[in-house]
């Protein structure tokens, strides 16, 4: 909460408190001035102060603002003791608002939210009863009728004892019913709480429940027409418990804070004893009170979160929130927890900070498993690709050069038979045989180049890339190539990255030109093939790029594809080269 807002609230509470004090002390229609004055300030300033503390500690939790509202309502209520008719009217209209706010506060403690529909309905009825119904009764009631010292009612539109009585009786019945339901809900909440939760709830529910019991008793006494010392006694007792209530809230909040410290302390102890995978998750689940807690480990090399088994995972599944945990300024993972814990960011952060070192250790394990999984998949793909490549080679040889050589054999045998009897036909057969032979040679050359280009071995990357550029149907600009020879596996990987990229450009890109850059720097070779074509390439489609990615990954390198529709395609490979 900002300092100006806090100061404003404090000044308003102080001013209103002084006004209420003056109203109580100077009011002619009050027989317990001293007690009311003390209790009014106790309730008003007590709630406002503890509310400010709660709001500061948990800015996203509505408990703080609600407590402040209760404090102001408590001060406003005291204005009903004023001799001034306007101030008296304001106080009278706000007289019961504090109870609706208290119902709202108690039913929403400690999350600040009304979780069930029943809670929301009860609170709505309470607000309606203490504002709209209160106003309806007030405009028909002349307070001086039963209180000779009370000031006039400026909102009186027509005195009607019958109508005012009916409305007041209905208001009383509604109030008793709502209070009964609230007490029942608070009892059930207490009964269903865990021992840890009860430590936080105990002061609030005890004092709050007692306040409502006293209020209900006071209303029943009023409904029964009893007055005098019983009514006064109940009212004073009610005010007394209300004055204690903010401190009960404060105690509850402190206990929750203490409970958080205990949770962190217990977590640290468990982490020391923890053995094996899953122990960290279990310890965090216990510390946060969320059995469904999951851990997501950050793997920078994959720019992704993985689970403990190294499998990729989405860090924020539906209904969950991920709190990022850092260690030495770097993200190491995320605690994926129930959305309800969003109200306790301090707890989650404290627990995360306590666990960050262990989380970092487990992250390294998860990262290793993710790499192993990736390597296993890559190895399987390489083996599969190897089989497929051998099948393709066999098919290419069978369908190409082998068939031509078979035909060549037949032609030569025929030519041999005809060479003496029909020299002209024999010569024609020999010409056809030469054509077959030339064609077979060309096909074998292409095939050999696909297996491993001889020019790459003999004359290096520069010459081999020039050859690729020369054979490409799309104009290629070789921007840069390394002058020196690189290790053979690196040269081979670079060559095939460029070859595959150029093949894809020719097939799919509809490009006017391609730029190829191969630069060696800082222990890496950076290969970049960029075209000005239509873009929109999908790396998931086709096995060519995936095979290349595996080939590059086998050298601890990375292959990336950037291809947006209408903006060309860039294939980039970074390969370590010491």
């Amino acid at each position: 909460m900002s300092t100006p807002r806090r100061t404003l609230i404090e000044l308003a509470a102080f001013g209103l408190g002084v006004g209420a004090l003056v109203a109580v002390i100077t009011g002619d229609h009050n027989i317990h001035r001293g007690a009311y004055a003390a209790l009014t300030l106790g309730v008003g300033w007590g709630f406002t102060g503890t509310g400010l503390y709660a709001w500061t500690r948990q800015p996203t939790n509505n408990v703080g603002p609600l407590m402040i509202a209760v404090g102001f309502a408590g001060l406003l209520k005291a204005l009903a003791f004023s001799n001034n008719s306007v101030i008296f009217t304001i106080g009278s209209l706000c007289e019961l608002l504090i109870y609706a706010l208290l119902i709202h506060l108690l039913l929403s403690f400690p999350s600040g939210r009304l979780d069930s529909a029943v809670d929301r309905v009860l609170v709505a009825i309470a607000y309606f009863n203490t504002t709209v119904v209160q106003l309806a009764a007030f405009v028909l009631n002349d307070p001086r009728a039963g209180c000779s010292q009370c000031p006039a009612n400026p909102l009186l539109v027509g005195k009607s004892d019958t109508a005012a009585g009916v409305i007041s009786a209905a208001q009383l019945d509604i109030a008793i019913a709502v209070l009964g339901a609230v007490v029942a809900i608070l009892y059930r909440r207490w009964r269903d709480s865990s021992p840890d939760q009860r430590r936080g709830f105990a002061p609030v529910l005890t004092v709050g429940g007692l306040s409502f019991v006293l209020l209900m008793a006071s209303l029943i006494v009023e409904q029964a027409g009893l007055s005098g010392s019983i009514d006064d006694g109940l009212t004073l007792a009610l005010f007394g418990t209300l004055a204690c209530l903010p401190f009960a809230f404060l105690t509850g909040l402190l206990r929750f804070r203490f409970s958080q410290a205990e949770a962190v302390s217990s977590l640290v102890g468990r982490l020391g004893d923890g053995r094996g995978r899953g122990s960290l998750r279990d310890a965090l689940a216990e510390a946060l009170g969320d059995p469904e807690v999951e851990l997501a480990y950050w793997v920078p090399s994959q720019v992704a979160y993985v689970d403990a088994d190294g499998q990729r995972m989405h860090p924020t599944p539906k209904g969950k929130i991920a709190t990022i945990i850092e260690h030495e300024g770097r993200p190491v993972g995320a605690i994926v927890h129930d959305a309800d814990l969003a109200d306790e960011p301090d707890l989650v952060q404290a627990v995360g900070a306590a666990a960050s070192l262990t989380l970092e250790n487990e992250r390294l394990g998860a990262e290793l498993r993710a790499h192993v999984d990736e390597l296993r998949a890559s190895r399987a793909r390489i083996v599969t690709a190897g089989y497929a490549e051998r099948q393709r080679l066999e098919r290419d040889l069978h369908d190409g050069a082998q068939q031509r050589l078979m035909a060549l054999g037949i032609n030569l045998r025929l030519a041999r038979d005809l060479v003496t009897s029909d020299t002209e036909e024999a010569a024609a057969l020999l010409d056809a045989s030469l054509d077959e032979l030339n064609q077979a040679t060309r096909e074998l050359r292409e095939l050999a180049r696909g297996i491993h280009p001889a020019v790459l071995t003999d004359r290096g990357l520069n010459a081999a890339l020039n050859g690729l550029a020369g054979r490409s149907p799309v104009p290629v600009e070789l921007v840069a190539t390394p002058d020196e020879r690189l290790p053979s596996p690196v040269e081979s990987a670079v060559y095939f990255v460029v070859a595959e990229a150029l093949t894809n450009v020719a097939r799919y890109a509809h490009a006017r030109g391609v730029r190829v850059t191969v630069v060696r720097s800082n222990g890496h070779v950076d290969v970049q093939v960029s075209d000005d074509g239509v873009g929109g390439a999908d790396p998931a489609q086709g096995s060519g790029l995936r095979g290349l990615s595996d080939r590059v990954a086998a050298l601890d390198g990375r292959l990336e594809l950037r291809s947006t529709g209408g903006d060309g395609t860039t294939v980039r490979a970074t390969i370590p080269c010491g």
Binding site: M406, A407, L414
Partner: protein, 117 residues
């Protein structure tokens, strides 16, 4: 009049050489087919005396074509051929209704004549 022949092979250069070889030795090549399905239709229509049948075809393989030709009752003399060696096919050649197998590297009109005699 020489025997009529249907050449079944998916490589045009081989079909052309085989046609030249067979015709020079007195065979009459009545048709060519590039796959098994076309071969079955052509055999049914042309009723050749001999079918020179490559084993490796794009759709049906040569063994399947031979079995269907035999089942159809057209019963031409079937000569299986391949650029592979006969041993590559195990006992499949012996089990097929074909008259026999000649590797493409040894293929000649005389070899066919001897086989179908």
């Amino acid at each position: 009049m020489g025997k009529t022949v249907l050449i079944v092979d998916d490589h045009p250069s081989f079909r052309a050489s085989a046609r030249r070889m067979l015709e020079s030795d007195g065979y009459e090549v009545v048709g060519e087919a590039a796959d098994g399905t076309t071969a079955l239709a052509a055999a049914s229509e042309l009723r050749p005396d001999v079918v020179l049948l490559d084993i490796r075809l794009p759709d049906l393989d040569g063994f399947q074509v031979a079995e269907r030709l035999a089942a159809n009752g057209t019963s031409p003399a079937i000569v299986l051929t391949s650029s592979h060696d006969g041993s590559d096919f195990g006992d499949e050649i012996g089990a097929s209704p074909a008259h026999g197998f000649i590797p493409k590297s040894d293929l000649s009109a005389e070899a066919i004549t001897v086989l179908i005699r």
